[in-house]
């Protein structure tokens, strides 16, 4: 044999897209699911509000004017800021909601992101190395599982200073086990794969294998779980703020607004109901979108989103 036998001559490269669940297709499918599209739009709207508006409305949002106390909504007499009425100290409800959007999203997103990163790292280590590391981490996760996370958060925040930082830390810590278990389960399966052995054969050490071989394959699952967690963390943060151990004035979030308005529920419903609606809608949207994402990213279910049977069942 004198020349290198070439592969290209006899084998055909399949030109098909290797990842049928790639980014473009997902967006394409999003347009076909009204509930997911609506959810995504609502969340995107909130993000824009939370990022763009607070610097401009912060002072106005916290300006108290007792003459406008519990001003009813849906009137432009006092200007657009008061279109949703005013709270018990005469602060414009709309601007308070804008400020609350920022805090609520910031707390929830930061807590979820922190929990996801830490939980994934611990889970990968736990699953990959096994042994006593795994043993200890799983015991801790088990213990945390048996204590209701809200109760734990309550206890910790009661002892510590209630502040944004502590709220985020407490919420994150209580949600870490969710990601730990997910990442661990995947790492347990992945570490047996041949490409891991192949990495070992070229001299990669354990940390490199965890980082470059395992992590990229675990991230999509973690991302889906994180989306799902967003709703429950948002609710937990609102609950803690409602109980007065979350944020403190002048910071405001939706949970705190609900709590503040509670006393006036009979006479001024909007002070409680509007932030309440914001919480419910956002949690619902995050939930719907994450459920949709999970199904859309699952190749087994992907066909459902590509060909949508309409108007009756198709012949199987």
């Amino acid at each position: 044999m004198s020349s290198v036998p070439a592969a290209s001559e006899l084998e055909v490269v399949p030109a098909a897209d290797p990842r049928p669940t790639g980014g473009r297709l997902t967006v394409h499918r999003l347009l076909r699911s009204p509930s997911a599209l609506l959810s995504a739009s609502w969340l995107a709207f909130l993000v824009v509000v939370a990022v763009a508006l607070p610097p401009f409305v912060e002072t106005a949002a916290n300006r108290q004017d007792l003459s406008l106390r519990l001003l009813p909504p849906f009137s432009l007499d006092e200007g657009f800021a008061f279109v949703l009425g005013a709270d018990s100290l005469g602060r414009p409800e709309l601007l308070q909601l804008v400020m609350g959007t920022r805090s609520s999203l910031l707390v929830a997103v930061t807590a979820v992101a922190a929990a996801a990163v830490v939980g994934m790292a611990l889970g990968l280590v736990s699953g990959y190395f096994g042994g006593w590391v795994d043993e200890i981490l799983m015991r801790i996760a088990d213990v945390m599982h048996t204590i209701p996370s809200l109760l734990l958060a309550l206890a910790v925040l009661y002892v510590l200073q209630p502040s944004v930082g502590n709220l985020v830390i407490v919420l994150a810590v209580t949600r870490v086990p969710v990601y730990l278990r997910t990442a661990r389960a995947e790492a347990l399966a992945l570490r047996e794969r041949v490409f891991v052995e192949s990495s070992r054969a070229v001299g990669a050490r354990d940390w490199r294998i965890i980082r470059t071989d395992l992590a990229p394959l675990v991230v999509p699952t973690i991302r889906t779980v994180a989306m799902l967690e967003l709703a429950s963390v948002l609710l937990a943060a609102a609950g803690l703020s409602f109980l007065g151990i979350g944020l403190q004035r002048p910071d405001v979030d939706w949970g705190m607004m609900v709590a503040d308005g509670r006393a006036y529920l009979a006479s001024a419903w909007w002070v409680t109901v509007l932030p309440g609606v914001a919480i419910v809608l956002t949690a619902l949207a995050a939930n719907l979108l994450s459920n949709w994402l999970r199904a859309a990213e699952d190749p087994a279910q992907a066909a459902r989103f590509v060909r949508r049977p309409r108007g009756g069942r198709r012949a199987a």
Binding site: V4, P5, A7, S198, D213, P216, L217
Partner: protein, 260 residues
């Protein structure tokens, strides 16, 4: 490569690998294996499924820790090194795995797959990694256009060529080939084997070739080890073992292989 050094490249003595099974039951996958591999030689290990061929290969490379025995690579006792000290030696002994659908990371491009080992053995990092990868791809008969592709876009034969390029990038001395073509179409098998033979010639590689395809072994190997239940039942030159099998098990293996 130190191909001019005298003595065997690999000296394996009394290698034994035991797996702990469930309920205290042990599997002796490799039992008291001893053999030498001379420079530039192709030594084949044959045996039925489950006879311990892969475990032997993995034990030699310490991808599983042998229970007992010694593996010497050009005089260095690999089994005596700790994991850290072993790492620099890994580049000299590379492995090609049976299933190219499983051995390449599904999320890495060909460029990444072939260049990844250089991030570990930094002294081998070329000035221009892209150019070097293209060169290696050419060496294994692949067009440079595949450099940005992912394994999912490649056929089995192409994947195995990428795996070979990845190993060659480390300028190894010994290639351990664990049934390198048995997962491929028959028509592709011949091409990949031809490539491996050609590479052995041009680069002076030493092969430990694991297979259950006796016809193939007869074609490529100079010496053969016949393995059965973890034990070497027969060792000899290819000609001798095929012409004059002494062990009962070897005879039954040869008899079961129709086209010899």
């Amino acid at each position: 490569m130190q191909a001019d050094q005298p003595g065997p490249v690999l000296e394996v003595r009394g290698l034994r690998t035991v797996f702990d099974g469930r309920g205290g039951r042990e599997t002796v996958a490799v039992d008291d294996a001893s053999f030498d591999v001379a420079p530039g030689q192709c030594l084949a290990v044959v045996g039925e499924s489950g006879s311990g061929k892969s475990t032997l290969a993995r034990s030699v490379l310490r991808l599983v820790e042998p229970t007992a025995g010694r593996v010497r690579y050009r005089g260095t006792d690999l089994t005596a090194l700790d994991r850290r000290a072993l790492r620099p030696y890994r580049r000299h002994l590379q492995m090609i795995f049976q299933d190219p659908y499983a051995s390449l990371h599904p999320r890495q491009s060909v460029l990444r797959l072939v260049s990844e080992p250089w991030r570990i053995h930094r002294d081998l990092m070329p000035e221009d990694p892209c150019a070097r990868v293209a060169e290696l791809l050419e060496q294994v008969g692949m067009p440079p256009a595949v450099i940005d592709m992912h394994p999912t876009q490649l056929s089995g034969g192409q994947r195995q060529r990428v795996a070979i390029a990845r190993a060659l990038g480390l300028e190894p001395d010994v290639l351990v080939l664990d049934e390198p073509v048995s997962a491929l179409d028959v028509s592709i098998q011949a091409q990949v084997i031809a490539l491996l033979m050609e590479l052995q010639q041009s680069l002076g590689l030493t092969y430990l070739f694991i297979s259950h395809d006796l016809a193939l072994v007869r074609l490529v190997a100079s010496e053969v080890i016949v393995m059965h239940h973890g034990v070497f039942v027969e060792t000899g030159t290819t000609e001798r073992v095929f012409e004059d099998p002494r062990d009962e098990y070897t005879r039954s293996l040869l008899a079961a292989s129709p086209h010899l």
